[in-house]
Amino acid sequence: MTEFRTPAVELARFRRRVVVAALFVLVCLGLLAARFHFLQVQRHDYFLTRAEDNRIALLPVVPHRGTIVDRQGVVLARNYATYTLEIMPSEVRDLEGTLAELASLVPIEPRDLRRFRKLFEESRNFESVPVRSRLTDEEVARVVAQRYRLPGVDVRARLLRDYPQGTTASHVVGYIGRINERDVERIEERGETANYRGTLHMGKAGLEQSYETELHGITGVEQVEVNASGRAVRALSHTPASSGNDLELTLDIELQRVAETAFGERRGALVAIEPATGGVLALVSMPTYDPNLFVDGISTQDWRALNESPDHPLLHRAIYSTYPPGSTYKPFMALAGLETGKRTARQAIRDIGYFNFGGHRFMDDKIGGHGTVDLHKSIVVSCNTYYYQLANDLGIEGIAGFMAPFGFGERTGIDLPGEATGVLPSPEWKRSRFRKPEQQRWYAGETISVGIGQGYNAFTPLQLANAMAALVNDGKLFRPHVVKYVVDSRTGERRAVEPEPLREIPLQQAHLKSVLDAMVDVNKSGTGRRAFQGAPYSVGGKTGTAQVFSLRGQRYVEKNVRERLRDHSWFVAYAPAENPKIALAVLVENGGFGSQSAAPIARQVIDYYLLNQRAGAPAPEDEDASESVDADTGIEGAVLDGAALPALPPSSPQSPPPSPAPPAQPAVGTMAPVPPARSAR
C-alpha cells in the first residue's frame, strides 16, 4: 500500500487492472462457449433424444375384449359402454378438494375411493384414473355441468365386461378382474407386458382365464405430442388396436339353464358331453355365483359372502371336486371283467347278501341278497356282491390297468383352468400318497370296496362323464372342450377347436353291447326306472351312491344322518341308446341314493336336449318359444357338425389348478378305508 501516489501511477495501475478484468471476462466467456459446444455439438444426439422423449408419449389403445357366445349364439360375455368419472393426475390441482367436490355431486363409496387412491399412486401422469364407473345419465349431467371448475375431471365412456346370463354357467364363463401384482408377474413371464399396457382387467376364472390370450386382443399405440403437464397436444401417429377373438362354445346355455334349474337349491355338478366330439353341452356346478360382481372389483361384503358360505359357490365342482363314483363304476367294472376274460356275460354268481373276505363280511344292499346274478342283472339291480367278487378276481392292478385309459384319475385336459386330477387307486398310488410304511401297503380288502366305486376312488364329475362318453363311443376318448370355435376378430375366420381323440380303447363290440344293454334296462326295470318312466326315447343309465361317512358296519338310515354327511347321489346316462348324442354324469351332494336326486335331474336334461321339453310340461308354448325353435334346429345341426369337428389347437391354454385348497367335502369319504361298503343302488 503506497500512501502517496501520483495520478499517473494510479491511472497506470488502474489500467493494468482493467486489462486483467478484460482477460478474466474473455476467459469466462470462452468457458461458456466451451460448455455450449460440449452440450450442443458433442452431446447433441443425447439431448435431442431426451427432448424427443419429453415431447412424445406412446399411449396404449386398449383392444376390445372378445365376446363369448354359446352354440346357439346366445351372448354369455360381452362389453358394454358405460360412463366413468375419471381424473387426469397431471391436471388436477387440489386432489382432496376435487374428490370432496365430486362426492357432493355423485355418490362415491369408500371402496371407490380406496380403489382410486391405489390406482392413482400407480398411474402414469397422463393416464386418467377412474373414480367411479356406471354413472347414470343424471349423474353424468351433474358432473359435466360442474366440470368447468374441476380441472382434471372428466367423464369418459369406457367398456365394461358384462355377463348377461348372470349366475348361469358362471363357472364355465368365469370372470375378469383387475390385474394385480401376481398377474403382472405372470404377464411378464409370458412376455406380454407391452401388450397389456393400458389394460386394467384380465380373465381370472373360467374361459375368461383359459382363453385370455385369444380374448385380450392386440393393444394399439397412439403416438402423441404432449406438453410438460402431460396433456396431449396433437396426435403424431395411430396404430389401431385389434379386438380380441370371440369364442363360440359347444355349451348350450338353455340346456345349462334347465340343468341348473333342475338342481334347485341342491349342491352338486352335472357334465353333459357330446360323445362324438367331446364337446361339452352343459357344465353345471351348483350353487353358482354372479360373475358380474367381480368385474369392477368385488366388494368385501360380497367376497366374504361367497367365500365363507358353507356351500362354497366359487368351487367348480364339475372339474375340481372329486367324489367316489359309487355304483356308476359298475358298468366299467363289468366291462373290465369281460375284456380281461375273468367273466362272461352269462356267468352268474349266487348272492347271499354278503361277500366273505378274510373273515369279514362285505354287505350287499339287499338283505338276503339278489339270488342268482349274472352280469346283466348285476348292473340292473346294482348288485354289490357280484362286484366284490369281481374286484377280488381282477385284483387292484387289474382294475387300475383297465380303468386308466378311460381317463379316471387323470386330468381330461378340458379347456378350463383348475382341473383336479382325482385318484385312481393302485398300490403304486398308495406308495406315493402315504409316508408311513404301514399306510403304504395295499390291503387286499381295500380292493373289494374299490370294486363298487367306493374306497379310495375319487373322480371329478367331468372324468366320469367323459369316461361315459368314451364307453358309448366305442372306446374313443376325447379331450373334452367347451369352446367350439375361436372367431378371429380381423378376418372373421372361425378356427375350430377340433375334437381330439386322446386314445382309442380297444373294446369288443359284444362286451360293450352286454354292458350297454344292461344300462338301458336300468332305466326300464332297474334302479332308474322311476326317473325315466314314459321316456319316449331309449336311454342307458346307472345310479350311484358315494359314501361320505362310514357307519362302521351299521345300516345306513338316511334320516338318522346329518344332511352334510348323507351320501352323494350319482347318475350317469346316455341317450338315445341306439345312437348316443349326449352322455352325462350328475352328482347331487348329500342327495342320498342315485335314483332319488340325480336321476330325475338327468331325465330333465335329456328331455330338454332330445325333445326340447321343459321338466314335465311340453314346452313349445313357453315364454321363450322362439328360442326353443332355434335351439331345436341348433341341436340337429350341432350333432351333424360335431362329426366333422376337429381337435384342440396346440395353443389352447391349459392352466394348472389354482391353489391346493381342499375341495369342500367330496374327498372326505375317500381317504378312510371303508371295508364294510354299504349299498349302492
Partner: protein, 380 residues
C-alpha cells in the same frame, strides 16, 4: 447552438449528444434479440416488454445527461436511503415465495435490494474518490464495512442471488481501487479450493442430515442440485435438466425460431425470465449462443474501454464496476442455465423479462455514457 432558430437536425443532435453510439448499437442488438425471443417464449408479454424498453431507455438517457459528479454527489444519500429501506424491508416487508424482499409503499411495491445494485458501487466509488492518491489499507477495511452492512441485510431476507450481485459490485470497485494482489490471490485460491471440495465431497455434504450452518436449506438444495441434478428430477433438478436438454437439443444451428419443443411444450421452466437463454440456444443453436456471447463481449470491452479512459478516479471505478456487474449477470445466468453454476435468481442482462432489472441495467448503461461524455468536459 442557435437558440432563436428552430432547427430539427440540431435539436436531434442535441438530444442524442450524450449517447454513446457503440453502446447504443450493442444495446439495440440485445433488446432486439430480447424482443424476438420473447415472441417465442411468451408472446403475451411482448407488449409490456416494449413498455419496459421505453422506460429503461428513458432512464438511460436521463442518466447519460447527468454529469458523473452530480451523480457521485448523490452517492451518500442513495446509500443511506438504500440501507434504511433494507432495514424497513426486514422489519415490515412482504413475504413472497419464502423471502421478504418487497416493500409496499402504497403507490408501488419496490425491491430496495435492486437500488443497492447502483448505490453500492456509487458509494464505494465516491469513497475511494475521497481517498484518491492516499489510499491506505485502512480504507479498504472501511470499504469492506460499507459493503458488508447492506449485504447482510439482503442475506437475511433471504436473497442469495442479489446479495452476491451487490457484493460483486462492491468488490469490483475495491479491486479496481487497487487492493493488493497479496490479499486478492489468497481469497481467490481459498474460494477455488472451497468450491472444489464442495464438488468433490458433494455426495456426503448433500446428505439430508448434514446441516451447512452458513447457508439456508433452500440454498443448500440449490448447490446440491447443481452438483447432481438427477437427485430431484421432478423438483429442484427439473429446471437444470430441462434447460440443458433445451440447449443440447438445439445443436449447431438450432431448431428454428418458434420451433423449440422444450420451449413451446412448456418443458422449460421460467423460460421468459431466468431461463430465456435456453430458448435462444434451443431455437438458434450454438451459432446463436456464440453470437450472443460476442455481443456481450463487445459491450463489456466497450465498458472497460470507457473505464480506462474515464477522467476521474471515481468515474473510472464506477465505470469498471458497472461493466463487471454486467459481466457477472451474464456469466452467472448463462452458467446457471447451462448447468455449471447453481441456480441463483439472476436474469440474463437486457434479455430476460422484468422491468426492474432492465431499468437498473439501462441506468448502468446511462452512467457509462455519461462517463464517456465527461472525459472531454472535465478532464482533470
Amino acid at each position: 447552438m442557435n437558440e432563436t432558430r428552430f432547427n430539427p437536425l440540431a435539436l436531434a443532435r442535441a438530444f442524442l449528444r450524450p449517447i454513446d453510439p457503440i453502446l447504443l448499437l450493442l444495446l439495440g442488438v440485445l433488446l432486439a434479440s430480447a424482443h424476438v425471443l420473447m415472441q417465442s417464449a411468451s408472446p403475451e408479454r411482448v407488449d409490456s416488454q416494449l413498455t419496459h424498453f421505453a422506460v429503461a431507455l428513458a432512464g438511460m438517457w436521463l442518466l447519460a445527461w447527468l454529469k458523473p459528479q452530480r451523480l457521485l454527489s448523490l452517492a451518500v444519500p442513495l446509500y443511506v436511503l438504500g440501507v434504511l429501506l433494507l432495514v424497513a424491508v426486514d422489519l415490515f416487508g412482504e413475504v413472497s415465495k419464502g423471502a421478504q424482499r418487497w416493500l409496499d409503499l402504497g403507490v408501488a411495491r419496490i425491491q430496495p435490494s435492486e437500488l443497492m445494485k447502483i448505490a453500492m458501487p456509487l458509494m464505494l466509488a465516491w469513497f475511494f474518490q475521497q481517498r484518491e492518491n492516499q489510499t491506505r489499507f485502512l480504507d479498504f477495511v472501511v470499504a469492506g464495512l460499507l459493503l458488508v452492512v447492506p449485504i447482510g441485510l439482503i442475506l437475511i431476507q433471504p436473497d442469495l442471488g442479489t446479495s452476491l450481485l451487490v457484493a460483486a459490485s462492491g468488490l469490483y470497485v475495491i479491486f479496481f481501487a487497487g487492493l493488493s494482489w497479496k490479499l486478492i490471490i489468497p481469497v481467490v485460491v481459498a474460494g477455488v479450493i472451497g468450491l472444489g471440495s464442495i464438488v468433490a465431497f458433494g455426495d456426503t455434504l448433500c446428505q439430508p442430515e448434514v446441516d451447512w450452518q452458513v447457508l439456508r436449506e433452500y440454498q443448500k438444495q440449490r448447490v446440491c442440485t447443481l452438483l447432481d441434478p438427477t437427485r430431484d428430477p421432478l423438483g429442484k433438478g427439473f429446471h437444470i435438466i430441462q434447460s440443458t436438454i433445451a440447449i443440447g437439443s438445439g445443436g449447431l444451428m438450432g431448431k428454428g425460431w418458434m420451433d423449440g419443443t422444450q420451449t413451446h411444450l412448456a418443458f422449460l421452466p421460467e423460460r421468459h425470465t431466468d431461463f430465456i437463454f435456453a430458448v435462444l440456444a434451443e431455437e438458434f443453436g450454438l451459432v446463436g449462443a456464440i453470437a450472443l456471447l460476442c455481443v456481450y463481449a463487445l459491450l463489456l470491452l466497450r465498458g472497460l474501454h470507457i473505464a480506462a479512459n474515464a477522467p476521474t478516479h471515481a468515474s473510472r471505478l464506477l465505470a469498471g464496476a458497472i461493466t463487471m456487474i454486467f459481466f457477472t449477470y451474464a456469466f452467472v445466468n448463462m452458467g446457471m442455465v447451462s448447468g455449471i453454476l447453481p441456480v441463483v435468481g439472476v436474469p440474463l442482462p437486457f434479455i430476460s423479462y422484468g422491468g426492474t432489472a432492465l431499468v437498473t441495467l439501462c441506468l448502468g448503461i446511462g452512467i457509462l455514457m455519461s462517463i464517456q461524455r465527461s472525459r472531454f468536459a472535465d478532464k482533470t
